[in-house]
């Protein structure tokens, strides 16, 4: 699946997007955050406070306990500040 990052999550990881292949036991959005956090220092830094990270699956907001299902795109970002 594709992972995309925005705002300071993007800056900390140093990428706007990448292909990821999490193992089968990564079932929820929250599992994905935990798994990504272990992929390197920059990921650990980006996800150091998982509670503030928002996740969208296929461009729709989801909670951390949402199953990944067949989602093809997972996005990670801080709370929105538009408007």
């Amino acid at each position: 699946m594709k992972a995309v990052y925005f705002a300071w999550v993007r800056e900390r990881i140093g990428k706007t997007e990448e292909e990821i292949s999490p193992p089968a036991d990564v079932r929820t959005a929250g599992d994905l955050i935990v798994w990504l956090s272990a992929q390197g220092e920059e990921y650990a830094y980006a996800f150091e406070n998982p509670k503030v990270i928002r996740v969208a699956l296929d461009r729709a907001h989801v909670k951390h306990d949402a199953p990944l299902g067949d989602a093809r795109e997972a996005a990670f970002f801080p709370p929105m500040t538009g408007g």
Binding site: V4, A56, R59, A75, M80, T81, G82, G83
Partner: protein, 152 residues
């Protein structure tokens, strides 16, 4: 009623958008226009840079707009949100609601702005006048509280 949703780098003409909702109609009693502008924060800011999630921004605003259209009797509804670098005094976001009745137009516009603030995938970064790139603007608890009051 077909709402208009646009996510764009270019500026917009708030008056023209409002006029488009009412032209050659005689059934609209109230038009509420909200324009959100870039503040310079006491002279500190050179610009705000708005990052957005292309695709999701349009879709998420579309979902919020559908909620508003289902909840209030609206005859017209337009939301435009800009991205990119925006100078102090310039426009960032526009919401226009048209209805037979003023309460519907006011409530729908207020709801839309409260929801855009907390759900539309945009992030603001500050650029300072001294040339440094500042922090990402932090989300405010009061904005979450404002959105919460529409629930239920």
């Amino acid at each position: 009623m077909t709402p208009t949703v646009r996510v764009q780098a270019e500026d917009f003409d708030a008056a023209a958008e409002a006029a488009r909702l009412t032209q050659s109609r005689t059934d609209i009693g109230a038009v509420v226009t909200f324009a959100g502008l870039c503040r310079d924060e006491g002279g500190r800011l050179a610009a705000l840079e708005l990052e957005h999630y292309p695709g999701m921004a349009e879709e998420e605003i579309g979902r919020v707009v559908a909620q508003a259209a289902a909840r209030w009797p609206l005859q017209g509804l337009t939301v435009i949100h800009r991205y990119g670098k925006i100078a102090p005094g310039a426009q960032i976001v526009l919401v226009v609601t048209a209805s037979s009745h003023r309460v519907a137009a006011f409530e729908a516009a207020t709801f839309l702005m409260d929801y855009l603030k907390t759900r539309a995938p945009f992030w603001k970064k500050e650029h300072h006048k001294d040339g440094t790139s500042g922090d990402w603007v932090e989300a405010k608890d009061e904005d979450d509280a404002a959105a919460e009051r529409w629930v239920g």
